[in-house]
Symmetry: C2
Amino acid sequence: MKERLERIKQQLHSHNYKLTPQRESTVMVLLENEEDHLSAEDVYMLVKEKSPEIGLATVYRTLELLSDLKIIHKINFGDGVARYEFRAEDAEHHHHHLVCLNCGSVDEIMEDLLGEVEKQVEHDFDFKIVDHRLTFHGICHRCKDKVSSEDVKVKISE
Amino acid sequence: MKERLERIKQQLHSHNYKLTPQRESTVMVLLENEEDHLSAEDVYMLVKEKSPEIGLATVYRTLELLSDLKIIHKINFGDGVARYEFRAEDAEHHHHHLVCLNCGSVDEIMEDLLGEVEKQVEHDFDFKIVDHRLTFHGICHRCKDKVSSEDVKVKISE
DNA sequence: CTTCTTGCAAAGGTTTTGCAACAGT
DNA sequence: ACTGTTGCAAAACCTTTGCAAGAAG
């Protein structure tokens, strides 16, 4: 964790930005909740717990900065808020998301499933792929076990 | 085109909704611009040309209604506005998008490339897939031909 | 000093909602 | 009448921006 913060500090410095206390708090919250796909508001509230004086605009600015430096990734699951996650160190290695329609959880698929598909698309459509986003919407394993299929159907159709 | 409007009318009626003139205008605009991924504002302005008295809220309400009935699909390319497109009649047949980072165009891939990938995901993660979203971001064939690679790189990195 | 950064409040843009009027049955 | 629907304006919501004050070299 310390090393990753240090690395981010260096990345900032190499672009002439400082790791201010506010930025450090924001980065720490992101690191401590790495599996959670936090929104800006989520980050803001978590940062506030330890550094109550921070402003929401600063959180937005920090998230934008980290996005620009490609340290984090801004993602959008279609619920009206942007969410943020760390980028894989290896730029080639994308990952994907499983969004549960029942409980709202977001799980990750770390494997890149699209190697072959990308090749096909680049060739068939003469399109140079820079990035891709793949999200599956459905019912997660926890909800499949927990609730009856009736309950799930009701939630999906509304 | 007429038949499709008629079919939508029936779908509305079967859920006790009416095809009002405003809703008909909205549906017609969607049908006439099917390949364009219009935003609510886009639809509003196009509908206004022929029915100037319509309100923006009505367009939003109609789009939401059509979404609820699964006649159209609300999609989000991460640019801050929702866009709408018709759902494939055959529910199994998804399609995907190619978003150009240079010119902003959105092309479609009509083939479902993910049959095998979906099977793998459902098995490996015990996840019941209801839907998926796949978008490739990159450089479309028109921009690859048109501009120099330098220009493209500048646009991407900003 | 100079430049970057911050907090606050205000503004921006998109979408939703309250409500009285309207339309169709 | 009754229910669904509309238009308008206001509100809600997320995000960005202007600006004066603050921090750091």
